[in-house]
């Protein structure tokens, strides 16, 4: 069976002779074999289980070992730059590295880190005295830390390291605090533990504070590097194109704020000046390994010592829960959360470069990329610089036409048009006066001189279907002391006409001895009712309260009428004169509108008559009669001539009143107005006929006059 090589990237098996994976094209064998110096020295018991196939281990053993004594000083750095590819150190298991453990313990700088775990502070001081042996990225950012009076800054200078490595060192702040206080030593101790555990499996780079000799020698041979502040802008731009923005910027280059008075800058923005105190700068800068307090140290230990972070494990541990709640406070993120952020250099920019990824460097979102910067919007939106973007709607032709039509209609509504005063021709004014004079003379003459003339009886050929006949029969069937309800729902202007129509009907009712209850849905109705009784029924000498009662005004329109239909005693408890309306014997038994024997509506408005019919009339409603004006008769007839009838009978106008008087053989007001009424009708018909005839003649004459002119002109 042919040996197979398992791809470390995708896990697919590949033939032994393949250099790259058939699945993912990843290199199966490393280009540079690991050397014993590159291996991470660790205790066997601490090494993770070896999961690499035996074939790979064998292949790794066959790899050529690079000569670290090579003259090329950048070989070690080249390996670092090839981190994008699966490195040989990543591929090799720790057991393999253990087998190749070098004998020279003095050059094993990782071993020193391991020893730091169990050594005392004195041993640490000894190691730190050899701080020049540590890589600069493992050293804390001495520029951002307050200088201690007791200790000298580390000997390693940024000039001895590659530029990008120096940059990371500065930014990461991995170098321990120079003041050897106990608290900071504890921080550094924990950091060292973490680095020792993680870097054994992931980071192929030596994690000791000692720089390998090869690197050290190479660094020594590098040409002296210029000071970062003196670096030309072109190099900055070039570096910015290689590294992310947060890495391209150097902390040694604070923003130029020479002209800004730092005292005027708020305390929250002091970090932008780059000249804030060292302690504040340390607090403001986002240090991924900066552990704040003791509580955060506990959280940090829990995070990496257990499978779950402490904030999850503390859900079942009340003590730890209290510690975590005490450590987490608004605006003060835990250290392990801050450690998850990438280190961001203060940008000094308020806006977002067009083709550059923006990384937030302030606030809770610090370190997160692709954040929409609020500063850019604030800066760009200066008062008065707002650009007006046009709102172009995509409308169809029909929509545009509708919009124009609507705009035209609205525009016409807003315009006040002066209505020209109609210019009446002198002939029209003369005709108006002439017609008025004719009416006054005719009607006045009939009123003055016509009292002695006996009126002719009406033709009774078709009285069976007449409304007044039905109403007469209905009233004639009423018995004495039966309660009836009369609604006076008309305007005062129509008092004369409705007096002619209703006088004989009311007289007939009083003659029947019924008890009349009057009501009105109009405020002027009660007064008109009283006036009607006192002027047209004087001969009966009816007294309010004894022979009739005025219930007064019923408010509410249709709703009030409906409620009165249901419970009249509660809707109108008092009469118009303030007395108890329902104490009189005829009304004592009235609890609903159905208890009335007849409902008679006197109105000049067909709408009012319709409301009464619609709201009051039910299957058990008593008979309903109406006395209406002549102008409402055409609309009321529909309720009478329908089958079944909705109103039992009606009297309309002077004609109906006169017919009712003749039927009851009791001449009344309609009889006195009958002659002038007929003369007025005849006069109106004559005026209409004469006017129409004159208009026709004038039109004919104008047509004849236009004819010859038209012919002549043509």
């Amino acid at each position: 069976m042919m040996a197979e090589i398992i791809c470390q990237m995708c896990g697919q098996a590949n033939p032994e002779d393949q250099d790259t994976c058939q699945n993912c094209d990843a290199r199966l064998s490393p280009l540079v074999a690991s050397t014993p110096e590159d291996q991470i020295p660790e205790e066997p018991q601490d090494s993770p289980p070896d999961l690499t196939p035996v074939e790979d281990q064998t292949a790794a053993e066959d790899l050529p070992t690079p000569d670290l004594e090579d003259d090329d000083p950048s070989s070690w750095l080249d390996e670092l730059r090839d981190d994008d590819e699966p490195d040989d150190d990543d591929l090799l298991p720790s057991s393999f590295a253990d087998a190749e453990e070098p004998a020279d313990a003095d050059t094993d700088w990782l071993d020193r880190i391991k020893k730091l775990d169990g050594e005392s502070a004195d041993q640490e001081e000894e190691i730190e005295k050899t701080g020049d042996a540590f890589p600069s990225w493992m050293t804390a950012d001495t520029e951002t830390q307050p200088a201690s009076e007791d200790h000298e800054p580390p000997d390693d200078s940024p000039e001895e390291l590659p530029e990008w490595l120096q940059l990371e060192t500065d930014e990461l702040g991995l170098e321990p605090e120079e003041d050897q206080s106990g608290e900071e030593d504890a921080d550094y101790q924990q950091l060292r533990e973490l680095l020792g555990e993680d870097s054994e499996q992931e980071d192929p780079q030596p994690e000791s504070r000692e720089i390998p000799d090869a690197v050290q020698s190479g660094a020594d041979r590098e040409p002296p590097r210029e000071e970062p502040k003196q670096e030309p802008d072109s190099e900055k731009e070039e570096r910015a194109s290689i590294f992310p923005s947060w890495a391209a910027e150097e902390k040694t280059h604070p923003p130029d704020i020479g002209e800004i008075d730092t005292e005027d800058i708020p305390a929250d923005l002091q970090f932008l000046t780059g000249e804030e105190p060292a302690k504040e700068k340390t607090a403001e800068s986002v240090d991924p390994f900066d552990i704040g307090g003791d509580d955060e140290e506990d959280l940090f230990d829990d995070l990496f010592e257990e499978d779950l972070p402490s904030w999850l494990t503390s859900a079942v541990d009340e003590d730890q829960d209290q510690d975590a709640s005490a450590a987490i406070s608004p605006g003060d993120l835990p250290g392990w959360v801050q450690a998850m952020r990438p280190v961001v250099e203060e940008t000094g920019r308020s806006g977002l470069a067009e083709d550059e990824e923006y990384i937030e460097n302030y606030g809770p979102l610090a370190g997160i990329a692709s954040i929409i910067p609020a500063e850019a919007d604030i800066e760009s939106s200066k008062p008065g610089d707002a650009t007006q973007s046009s709102l172009t709607l995509s409308v169809s032709k029909t929509q545009r036409e509708y919009a124009e039509l609507l705009e035209k209609v609205i525009g016409q509504e807003s315009k006040s048009e002066t209505v020209p005063e109609p210019v009446s021709a002198p002939t029209q004014r003369v005709l108006r006066w002439l017609i008025t004079l004719l009416l006054i003379v005719t009607l006045g003459g009939a009123i003055i001189f016509g009292r002695g003339i006996e009126n002719q009886p009406l033709n009774n050929s078709n009285q069976e279907r007449s409304g007044h006949v039905a109403l007469y029969e209905l009233i004639s069937d009423l018995e004495e002391e039966e309660p009836i309800l009369i609604a006076f729902d008309y305007q005062p202007a129509l008092l004369g006409e409705l007096s002619y129509s209703a006088s004989s009907v009311i007289d007939h009712l009083i003659s029947q001895g019924v008890y009349i209850s009057m009501i009105s849905t109009q405020p002027t109705g009660p007064a008109l009712a009283e006036y009607f009784i006192q002027t047209t029924q004087v001969k009966h000498e009816y007294a309010p309260g004894l022979n009739y009662i005025n219930l007064g005004y019923l408010p509410g329109g249709a709703a009030g009428l409906l409620s009165f239909t249901i419970e009249p005693t509660k809707i109108i408890p008092l009469a118009f004169n303030g007395s108890n309306a329902w104490d009189s014997p005829p009304l004592a038994e009235v609890n609903a509108i159905n208890d009335f024997s007849l409902i008679l509506i006197i109105t000049d408005d067909p709408t009012t008559a319709k409301i009464w019919v619609e709201q009051v009339q039910t299957s058990s409603t008593p008979d309903m009669g109406m006395i209406v004006s002549a102008q409402a008769e055409p609309l009321i007839q529909a309720y009478y001539h329908t089958s079944p009838r909705q109103i039992s009978g009606y009297v309309a106008g002077v004609l109906g009143g006169y017919a009712y008087e003749q039927l009851s053989e009791n001449p009344n007001l309609a009889n006195t107005a009958w002659l002038p009424y007929n003369l007025g009708i005849i006069l109106a018909a004559a005026v209409i006929f004469v006017g129409g005839l004159a208009n026709g003649i004038l039109t004919l004459v104008k047509g004849q006059n236009k004819g010859p002119r038209g012919e002549g002109s043509s």
């Binding site: 319709k610 619609e614 709201q615 009339q617 102008q631 008769e633 106008g653 009424y677």
Partner: protein, 233 residues
Amino acid sequence: MTAVNLTEFIGLSLGFLLTILIFSYLLGDNPFFQLATHIYIGVSAAYVALVTINNVLIPRLITPIFTGSENEKIISLLLIIPSLFLFTKATPFRKAGNWVVAILIGIGAAAAVGGAITGTLFPQILGGINSFQFSDSTNQPFYIQLINGSVLLLGTISTLIYFHFGTRSKPGQPNRRKKAIDTIGQIGEIFIAITFGALFAGAYLAALAAMIDRLTVLWTYLNNIGIQLLSNL
């Protein structure tokens, strides 16, 4: 002249004077006519206010608080605040006034719609159907009843179709109704014209009756004045 006669005389004199002022409109709009109309409007408004206060608010809202039963007191107290909608423009209770107005409009509309359906629409439809139910009780010949029913049906349908203004637009042609609908609508227009003519005639008859009444009042007043004058001589 007794007090009753004096009051009646003053009333008749005012009626005569105001009637003459209104008749002055024959000469056109003039200050006398405007004075009479202003007096009518002012007196009517004042009278309506008094009737509303004396006949509605006091007996149905205020009096039950003091003399009514427990239920009437509670209802009256509850109605006090909603009654402030009368001052919706000037008081901070205009929100409560809005609720009252909304309730009034809602109840009024419900009552009007329900009454129109059950009191007019359905009975009139039933009446139109029953117009073809011929019987001998009307004492009319069969063909007369048939003609009446047919005219009623034709008038109803043609009038309703007249108010159908829906058209179909065709490209290049003006929007017009269908020819059948247009023809039936013209028939309905005839019925509408007859109806308006009847209404105009009724309005004229009502005005004629009112004029006769006013002329009668004027003559009665002048006659009484003459009698008084003649009696005093």
